[in-house]
């Protein structure tokens, strides 16, 4: 019917206690696009991603992924997207191959196809030689690549990447973006990503939406956003639109967990 991969209309999320994390936002993600969802800390990015990926129910509004409603058909929607979370979500005590294998099992990938698919994807991200290594021996960049491969194992139409390059060195970031673009071009994969690195969005995204205080304040191509704000690059445009104040994010339970995990030995290195 439409050419939108993701369609969001008047989406709102209010948390207990009255915090309006996402306030009546609407946007369309065209099929086959690379869509950057930008915003300062606490602007509502992660809340939006959680609603799109069935982890959180919206308070009001509607959204569809590949024409499906995540609230009515969570399982069908889950089969249609892959996700790389902001924090690593691999099992460190398993090998790279086992992480892939278990994902295939959970997603109902036909067992006859599983080994071939895993091999292809692990070769694609250059980790096939390390398939039998425990994930805890991997660097941050290797884990990210593996997570991307895992997210693609059930051949989704959309790939969500929540800050896929945070904490990685420029070489690894460049490497990861090369992969993502290749996937987008070769497979027509729709990519929805968030990042704090504005130059990544400027370089890679075909569409950008900027969210602040729960509202979409700009939604266009990177070039149009830059020209309409009269700035030199997306970073300046972003600062101009969202202001210079530093945002103090309210720490939720997951942030406490994150702090504890760092205390346990900061795996994101």
């Amino acid at each position: 019917m439409s050419d939108s991969s993701i369609s969001v209309k008047n989406l709102t999320k209010t948390f207990k206690g009255g915090l309006i994390a996402v306030n009546n936002i609407s946007f369309e993600v065209p099929k086959g696009s690379i869509f950057a969802f930008l915003g300062p800390n606490g602007a509502g990015k992660t809340t939006t991603i959680k609603m799109l990926t069935t982890l959180l129910h919206p308070t009001s509004g509607s959204l569809t992924l590949n024409g499906l409603d995540p609230i009515k058909n969570p399982h069908d929607v889950r089969e249609s997207f892959g996700i790389v979370f902001q924090d690593p979500s691999l099992d460190d005590e398993l090998t790279a191959y086992e992480n892939m294998f278990f994902h295939a099992g959970l997603y109902g990938v036909p067992r006859s196809e599983t080994p071939k698919k895993i091999e292809d994807l692990m070769k694609f991200i250059d980790l096939w030689d390390r398939r039998d290594s425990l994930v805890k021996t991997f660097s941050g960049g290797m884990k990210r690549r593996l997570e991307i491969a895992r997210g693609l194992l059930h051949t989704p139409a959309i790939l969500f990447l929540d800050e896929p390059t945070t904490g990685l060195d420029p070489q690894t970031r460049n490497y990861i973006w090369t992969y993502i673009k290749k996937l987008n071009e070769e497979r027509g994969l729709t990519v929805f990503f968030t990042t704090h690195y504005m130059e990544e969005a400027e370089r890679s995204a075909s569409q950008v939406a900027i969210i602040d205080h729960g509202k979409i304040i700009a939604s266009d191509t990177p070039a149009n956003i830059i020209s309409s704000t009269g700035t030199a690059n997306l970073e300046d445009a972003f600062i101009k639109l969202t202001g210079k104040d530093i945002r103090e994010q309210e720490a939720g339970s997951i942030d406490h967990l994150r702090q504890m995990r760092q205390a346990f030995g900061g795996r994101r290195k």
């Binding site: 399982h75 109902g108 504890m260």
Partner: protein, 252 residues
């Protein structure tokens, strides 16, 4: 349209089994406590127990210690849930096209299997130390071992679903485990114990696990095996439902 609901359960089960066998320190480390209890109490109190006319204490104590090691391993398996939450793997399962109930069942089954294996190792150790079970009753025994494992894995999952930090979980578990163990008839016969101990033991699910296990292995039990099995089955349903309900509310 899900073709097969059992395969994801198997996958989640397999993950825990793999992790267990990969962690040698966990296998060996969790054998320490039961061995200390067996040797110190078994040989320490053995002569007193015999003098009181109760017979061989190792014979009495061993099923209790097997039940204890299963219960401790089972409840503590809840920590893996908190662990998976902290290290992110839980999210991976939560966005998979699998229901929460399936995830909870898979995890519980995995944790319970690990606890049963741990109990079986302790069972073999008790035989080395001098326990002489009725070999024909081993099947019944295994059934009770698995029953205890399921009940307390579901219990651990329930606690872990409503908590976020590991230290807190450890403390709560200690707070619950120790009284449940000491007041279950694992260490001393309940029929001669004071009324308040018997009253607590009466509502303690572990009592029925210990009693059933002892009945199966040695023929000495307070209740009939049928009653023990029925209570364990009932509590299993109760704790599984509670665990499933609390797990369905977990946010990631």
């Amino acid at each position: 349209m899900r073709s097969n609901i059992l395969y994801p359960i198997y996958i989640l089960w397999l993950r825990q089994i793999k992790r267990y066998f990969r962690s040698k320190s966990r296998i060996i480390g969790s054998l320490g406590q039961p061995i200390v209890f067996l040797v110190a109490l078994g040989f320490g109190f053995g002569s007193i127990f015999a003098k009181a006319g109760n017979g061989n204490y190792i014979q009495f104590l061993s099923p209790g210690i097997i039940a204890m090691s299963i219960m401790f391993t089972a409840v503590f398996s809840g920590i893996e849930l908190i662990w998976d939450r902290q290290f992110g793997f839980l999210k991976e399962t939560m966005v998979a096209p699998v229901s929460r109930l399936t995830i909870m069942f898979g995890r519980t089954l995995g944790g319970a299997t690990v606890a049963t294996i741990q109990g079986t190792i302790v069972f073999l150790i008790t035989i080395v130390i001098g326990f002489r079970p009725d070999i024909f009753a081993v099947l019944w025994g295994l059934l009770f071992m698995f029953g205890i494992a399921i009940v307390f894995t579901a219990f651990g999952t329930a606690i872990a679903s409503s908590m976020e930090d590991m230290q807190g979980f450890g403390l709560i578990v200690q707070l619950v485990n120790m009284p449940l163990f000491f007041l279950s008839g694992a260490l001393f016969p309940l029929n001669t114990a004071p009324f308040f101990i018997r009253a607590i033991a009466f509502i303690n699910p572990l009592s029925y696990g210990v009693d059933g296990l002892r009945g199966a292995f040695t023929g000495l039990s307070q209740y009939s095996l049928g009653v023990d099995a029925l209570v364990i089955a009932g509590v299993t349903v109760l704790f599984l439902s509670l665990g499933a309900w609390l797990f369905s509310k977990v946010e990631v």
